[in-house]
């Protein structure tokens, strides 16, 4: 590989020069002849208008071709996501609200390892969402459903990718820039094409959640596995564990606290995205905030904002408490106190 790297750089240079020439030729604002560039040097002053890669045109054409050719596949994905969304949402909306609170309280109680304080706090927060405004209850359920499906998608896709990254440095180097892109690119860049593929509503929001909140889960899975003690792995190897046994028996269980932290971060970011997604017609608490904003109604938008915070607290405490419980199990409390030896 090293041998060819010199030629590779050369190749990049050629591509770059070709791009400049293409942008010059395709520009409408280029001077009448190339010679002018040498006689009239004013283009060195301001960034010249002809130095413009026609990236926009390429993306638009590519997108048109893509949505025409693969539209059907996305219809199928959209349909599957929509079905699961409607089923969960209708179930939760139809359940009497005290039952929903009880259910969540029970989940919290067991996932937190029977911590009464956390459980009561979560139950109280959940009650307060409806208490702020009864209209918020159903909306919070819509929001939660979207978040849950989004997270599920992230877990299914993200954890295997994280594992692959931890195992192979080349895979990691290839995927890291993609993760950077997913985290940083403004969300409307993929939400608006999402509408064209999936229509208005919950589905582009779920896709948005996946793009925006999957990266931390992948990163933390990768990190968690790489942080597992070398000695523990060596011990497992010396007992004759193969790769699969090592992964399922040693690496994943020990990385679980980190992975849970990833899921927790994923949840929080999903909630942030669901609010932005109200701008593409996603129903839920986000559209209450948006409505308040558009009517200059400070009270109603803050009320809805607080409901989102409460929902975030509920989801955060449940995932966080579960993570802590796992951590206590995998890393038994150290009974031997370190003795500081003063020199």
């Amino acid at each position: 590989m090293k041998k060819y790297s010199k030629y590779l750089n050369f190749l990049y240079l050629i591509i770059f020069v070709v791009l400049i020439v293409v942008s010059y030729l395709s520009s409408k604002r280029k001077p009448d002849s190339v010679k002018e560039l040498f006689t009239d040097l004013s283009w060195l002053n301001n960034f010249p208008k002809w130095l413009d890669v026609p990236f926009m045109v390429w993306i638009n054409d590519g997108w048109r071709w893509f949505s025409a050719k693969y539209g059907l596949i996305f219809d199928a994905i959209g349909y599957a996501l929509l079905r699961s969304y409607s089923i969960i949402k209708n179930l939760l909306v139809d359940l009497p609200w005290p039952l929903v609170i009880l259910l969540v309280v029970a989940i919290t109680y067991y996932s937190s390892g029977k911590k009464l304080g956390t459980t009561m706090f979560v139950g109280f927060c959940l009650f307060c969402i409806g208490f702020l405004n009864p209209r918020f209850w159903d909306k919070a359920i819509e929001t939660t459903t979207i978040v849950l499906i989004g997270i599920l998608l992230c877990v299914i896709v993200g954890i295997p990718i994280g594992i692959a990254m931890a195992r192979n440095a080349k895979v990691r180097n290839a995927i890291l820039p993609i993760l950077d892109l997913m985290q940083v690119i403004p969300s409307f860049c993929y939400l608006i094409p999402g509408i064209i593929l999936f229509g208005l509503g919950a589905i582009p929001a779920i896709i948005g959640i996946f793009i925006y909140s999957c990266p931390p889960l992948i990163r933390l899975t990768d990190l968690g596995i790489r942080l597992v003690d070398k000695e523990v792995i060596e011990a497992a190897e010396s007992f004759g564990a193969n790769k699969k046994q090592k992964l399922w028996g040693v690496q994943l269980p020990l990385a679980l606290p980190n992975i849970m932290q990833g899921i927790n971060q994923c949840t929080m970011m999903a909630l942030a995205m669901v609010v932005i997604a109200s701008m593409i017609g996603t129903r839920g608490l986000g559209d209450e905030v948006l409505l308040g904003l558009q009517q200059l109604n400070v009270g109603s938008s803050i009320e809805a904002g607080l409901a989102i915070v409460l929902l975030a607290i509920v989801l955060d405490r449940i995932t966080q408490a579960y993570g802590e419980k796992i951590q206590e199990r995998t890393q038994p409390p150290k009974k031997i106190k370190k003795i500081n030896v003063k020199n």
């Binding site: 929509l82 409307f188 608006i192 064209i196 701008m279 593409i280 009517q295």
Partner: protein
């Protein structure tokens, strides 16, 4: 004393500095309000270019959705609005026109439409011509709302915009609310994408929309306007009262009133009276400004497809290729503009 002196020196310094800067630019200034749809962007772009480069004023542009921009306008923070959908805001504007704090400045485009539209293929296949036809059995199923399969989906205006509430009342008055959801697309861009997406996939489209817009100018978008009861001033007035009441107090206060089609209206311009008195020359330009619908459609197509949403490039393209603007401004201003193109 020393303390006071220490305090005073920077104060005087800052005062001098701020006076200095205001003096330098005191000639004139204009704060334009722009909205989140493309025809407003184009008019704002041209007007702000002329005021800045031609009259040499300080120009500030604030962009936002209707409610905040109008609130800032009534508050005096924004001074000029080059595209006003006046008929949607009748009740809101009335007191301000009445007390003389804002002034009419004529039309910017002579004709515009807002209405309910259905894509031509579906409309012709099922003989859909008016809103009454939408009630025919089985029609709503064509537009089935994926998230609420018991109803069809009418992609409506953006909630928070007045037209959302107007559409809400209209659907109720026409008896369509039991068959169709008044679906809020969330933002102008999302509404466009929903219509474009429907056409890209060949799916039936039932939507509220308006012209002039760049989307309507695209060759692949072909929609039929549904007929509604003819516009009637009295009816519209009654409906506006209900609409404003709902906007203030929520949908519970809905009371049956009346509904009719949107008036094909001229889009108008408005300025604040105090600003107009201080800047008579620029005000005269705003009053003279008016573009034929044809030109606006071309401009919109250029703005969206060619310039890639570059407001300044669109303004320059217009000024380079048209001459009617020479009549709006004094010759020295026109010369200033010519010099920058």
């Amino acid at each position: 004393m020393k303390f006071l002196k220490n305090l005073l020196v920077p104060f005087v310094f800052v005062l001098g500095l701020s006076l200095g800067t205001t003096n330098a630019n005191a000639k004139c200034s204009a704060h334009l309000g722009d909205f989140d749809w493309d025809s407003a962007n184009v008019h704002t772009a041209i007007a702000s270019y002329v005021i800045e480069k031609g009259f040499g004023c300080d120009v500030q542009v604030s962009k936002g959705s209707t409610t905040p921009i109008m609130a800032a306008f009534f508050d005096g923070q924004i001074e000029v609005i080059t595209e006003l959908w006046e008929d949607n805001l009748v009740e809101l504007l009335k007191p301000h026109f009445a007390d003389g704090s804002i002034l009419h400045r004529g039309v910017n485009t002579p004709a515009s439409e807002q209405a309910f539209w259905v894509d031509r293929a579906t409309a012709e296949a099922h003989g859909l011509k008016s809103v009454e036809d939408m009630k025919k059995p089985g029609i709503w199923e064509l537009f089935k709302d994926p998230e609420d399969p018991s109803k069809g989906r009418m992609t409506s205006c953006i909630s928070g915009w007045t037209c959302y509430t107007i559409n809400y009342v209209k659907l109720k008055e026409y008896g369509l609310d039991e068959m169709y959801t008044n679906f809020d697309p969330g933002s102008g861009g999302a509404l466009d994408a929903a219509i474009a997406g429907g056409f890209a996939k060949g799916k039936p489209v039932f939507s509220y929309y308006w012209t002039p817009t760049s989307l309507m100018g695209k060759p692949e978008i072909d929609m039929v306007r549904l007929e509604e009861p003819a516009y009637d001033a009295k009816c519209w007035q009654d409906m506006s009262v209900v609409v404003e009441d709902i906007k203030a107090n929520g949908t519970e206060v809905y009371a049956p009133s009346c509904a009719c089609e949107y008036k094909d209206m001229a889009l108008t311009k408005t300025v604040r009276a105090d600003w107009a008195a201080a800047n008579p020359e620029v005000d005269a330009f705003i009053a003279a400004y008016s573009l034929p619908t044809e030109t606006v459609n071309n401009l919109l197509a250029y703005y969206v497809d060619v310039s890639g949403g570059d407001m300044e490039a669109t303004a320059m393209w217009y000024l380079e290729n048209n001459t009617e603007w020479l009549d709006w401004v004094p010759s020295n201003v026109a010369a200033n503009i010519r010099a920058t193109l």
